[in-house]
């Protein structure tokens, strides 16, 4: 008897969108769309795409003037922390998915390092139940590889898969023992579910709060050497290759890791990777002021590492961009650097940061950025958002020319520990449609787009 596999994504009920967006520049590299079109969404489905002025919307459809703006397939983030259950003072399902919607995301995958850890089907089921009430955008959950993230016993991976686990990870912690990871890889042959790996050798990273190098030498802060990550990436790629398993290396931070992945892919191993906006945009220099928003794991590294990450993203060694959105409350971060918890939020600034740093600077095309920000879920079996007629609409409307200061209007997230906070970035998300429902409208855009009150009264 085979158990019915649950859908990977769940979300709260939301009204199906009826929209007509006129005059926006559509770009969907996978669908081969690039040009100014009108778009009609009806009953949540992408109903029509046509030359400007050729489409008619239903009488109840909201009309949005998209001229001067761009419309893309909405983004997918395969690595966020919703902090629920257990740390709702940092984030909960509602605030975290609202933050995702504000960043233009139509689907996110949440990590299981909560309290309790998502290491049993009962915890997973209750979490998915809560998400069915609260999630603003579809959310999937990864379950732990080992019970309690302790690296000692495997979780019931088959049962968790049947209960809807999108994959497995001990994120926040490495699977320290090669033998334990090997067993998980063997078990994966039966249970399925990609193993997402936080790569860190604690014997090298212990006591560290930032990258080991010239800046840590001056600050006298314990360093985390890049080898703490790269040796584990190489080890785990070799284990995956040997067992024929499928692994996803999370948040790559250094040049040696990119090189190790390049080699693993050359050998044909089933290895995928992600990189975060903060590792693409910042270096250890940002830590000089001991701003705790710049403390994350893995740490910000050197300019050479940053360049290697960008090169790896462009040449395909790195598959996708993932924020590792890691909220912490103000009082937790308002402490000396070495005492502060690791992590930065990132959902609301991800697109603008990458667009400003990578596309406006000429390093990559907007098409490539859209691909890198939409494909992350596919690694875990999610559908890639695409502008396909008749499918549920997943769209993000952005103003590429608008320059804005991150955090100037506050955050949708419950936490404000954003590494990009206070920075001027280009590219503002105006509207997000997730799985056929409007999940976000940027406030000033919503006001300007609202029909005239007199007109509405008539």
């Amino acid at each position: 008897m085979t158990r019915r596999k649950e859908q990977l994504l769940v979300r709260g009920t939301a009204a199906e969108a009826d929209l007509m967006i006129t005059g926006a520049h559509l770009i969907d590299p996978r669908a081969g769309i690039d040009g100014v079109f009108d778009v009609v969404v009806s009953d949540g489905q992408l109903a029509e795409i046509g030359e400007p002025g050729t489409l008619t919307a239903g009488p109840d459809a909201e009309k949005i003037d998209g001229s001067g703006f761009h419309l893309f397939p909405a983004f997918v983030d395969p690595h966020i922390h919703l902090r629920t259950p257990g740390h709702e003072h940092k984030e909960d399902i509602e605030t975290g998915t609202r933050s995702a919607a504000a960043g233009g995301f139509c689907a996110v995958l949440a990590m299981p390092n909560t309290d309790p850890v998502v290491d049993s089907a009962s915890v997973l089921r209750s979490l998915r139940e809560a998400a069915r009430r609260e999630a603003r955008v579809p959310v999937g959950f990864l379950a732990a590889i080992t019970v309690g993230l302790e690296g000692q016993e495997l979780t019931a991976m088959s049962e968790l898969r049947a209960a809807g686990a999108a994959g497995f990870t001990d994120d926040g912690m490495p699977v320290e023992s090669a033998g334990m990871l090997r067993k998980a890889l063997q078990y994966q042959q039966m249970s399925g579910g990609v193993l997402a790996l936080h790569e860190e050798d604690p014997s090298l990273s212990a006591g560290g709060s930032m990258n080991e190098g010239a800046v840590s030498a001056v600050l006298g802060i314990g360093g985390i050497p890049s080898t703490s990550e790269s040796t584990m990436v190489a080890r785990d790629a070799a284990l995956a290759g040997y067992e024929g398993g499928t692994v996803h290396m999370q948040h790559l931070s250094c040049a040696e890791s990119v090189e190790a992945i390049r080699e693993a892919k050359r050998l044909g191993y089933n290895v995928t990777t992600e990189v975060s906006p903060h590792h693409l945009c910042f270096t250890e220099e940002e830590v000089r002021t001991l701003d705790t928003r710049m403390k994350m794991n893995p740490p910000l590294r050197t300019e050479a590492d940053r360049q290697a990450l960008i090169a790896g993203l462009i040449d395909g060694t790195i598959d996708c961009i993932a924020t590792d959105h890691a909220p912490h409350s103000a009082h937790e971060k308002e402490v000396p650097f070495e005492q502060a918890p690791m992590g930065t939020t990132g959902l609301e600034s991800s697109f603008a940061a990458c667009y400003t740093e990578l596309v406006r600077s000429g390093l990559m095309s907007i098409e490539m950025l859209i691909e890198k920000m939409t494909c992350g879920g596919a690694i875990f079996g999610l559908q890639i958002p695409q502008m396909t007629i008749g499918e549920s609409a997943n769209l993000v409307l952005v103003d590429l020319e608008q320059e804005w200061r991150v955090g100037e209007d506050g955050y949708e997230s419950r936490s404000e520990n954003c590494a990009f906070g206070g920075r001027m970035l280009h590219g503002r998300v105006l509207l997000t449609v997730a799985d056929g429902a409007v999940a976000y409208r940027q406030r000033s855009f919503a006001l300007s787009a609202a029909p005239d009150l007199d007109e509405a009264a008539q």
């Binding site: 080991e212 190098g213 840590s216 030498a217 006298g220 802060i221 402490v335 000396p336 070495e338």
Partner: protein, 310 residues
């Protein structure tokens, strides 16, 4: 100057001015009555999150010699053990309106944070493995009394640079005054990329005789358990400063407390080349000068008030 958070925040001119004031205070120390009224009515708070006898008593003495009121707040037995955050502690203590807070704590950058949470002048008395700027100032003061100027002086800092806030402040401070700094020690105890601070790196003391000044750091016993060193015996055989290794014209310094027979041999601690006791004495007058600089200098006070010489 509003605060003294890092030796990087003070210019060479600032250092020279502080040293000149310290020299003036030290003349005063030869008198029977050592106290001056420069900071009468001011309150200096010692906020110490780490055990410290020397630094704390040195600050306390400095403040009292300037006639300031001194309050000591140490972490043990206080609200911090009940889980109060640093910010809450500082804001609570600030409600008592101290004029200066002397901060010693095990975390880098904490004094800079404290400075954001209070109006008081903040003096970093050691933050984690980061900095100890008043130690650097008193070492510069001690050396310039002996050498006149540090310009071109070759200074070797020997030992556990990795865990030493004294080393970091002194590298920056000595360089600011024109000295060339070399660090020497076992590779496990020298930070990676320390060359970025403009120092030379040596793994042996073979050329130690070329140093004008040898600055030995304290070696802590627990470094062996953490496998930084195979044994104290091995460390001493390779890096102990003894009569054989110390050049005949080299001056010897140490921030204290000394482990005799580990980083320094018994004889050199007490030899004529040793400035160790002068460093201790300099501690009080330099800290007086720092307190004066932050709390009184801007108010056009004379460093050594007239009434004492009258």
């Amino acid at each position: 100057m509003k605060h003294l958070l890092s030796i990087e925040d003070v210019s060479r001119e600032d250092v020279e001015r502080i040293c000149a004031r310290a020299a003036a205070f030290s003349e005063n120390h030869e008198r029977e009555i050592k106290k001056v009224p420069a900071l009468r009515g001011r309150t200096v708070l010692n906020l110490f999150y780490e055990a410290s006898t020397r630094t704390r008593s040195s600050f306390e003495l400095a403040a009292k010699r300037l006639s300031a009121d001194v309050v000591n707040f140490s972490a043990s037995g206080s609200s911090t053990e009940k889980g109060e955050s640093l910010k809450d502690t500082v804001q609570t203590l600030s409600a008592h309106r101290p004029d200066a807070i002397v901060v010693r704590c095990p975390w880098a950058g904490a004094p800079a944070l404290v400075a954001e949470w209070t109006d008081a002048a903040i003096i970093n008395a050691g933050d984690g493995k980061h900095e100890h700027p008043t130690q650097a100032l008193l070492d510069i003061y001690t050396l310039s009394r002996r050498l006149g100027s540090l310009d071109g002086a070759k200074i070797w800092i020997v030992g556990d640079v990795l865990h030493s806030r004294v080393a970091r402040s002194n590298i920056l401070g000595f360089q600011k005054m024109g000295a060339q700094v070399t660090v020497a020690g076992p590779p496990t105890l020298l930070p990676r990329d320390i060359e970025a601070m403009g120092v030379e790196v040596r793994y042996s003391l073979d050329d130690l005789h070329e140093a004008d000044v040898v600055y030995a750091l304290r070696m802590q016993n627990e470094r062996m358990q953490q496998a930084y060193l195979p044994s104290m015996r091995e460390y001493a055989s390779l890096f102990q400063i003894d009569e054989r290794r110390l050049g005949a014209r080299s001056l010897l310094m140490h921030p204290g407390p000394v482990n005799r027979g580990v980083e320094l041999s018994d004889e050199v601690v007490d030899c004529a080349q040793s400035l160790i006791l002068e460093q201790v004495a300099a501690g009080v007058v330099v800290r007086m000068a720092v307190l004066f600089e932050l709390l009184a200098a801007s108010r056009a006070f004379d460093p050594v008030p007239e009434h004492q010489s009258a």
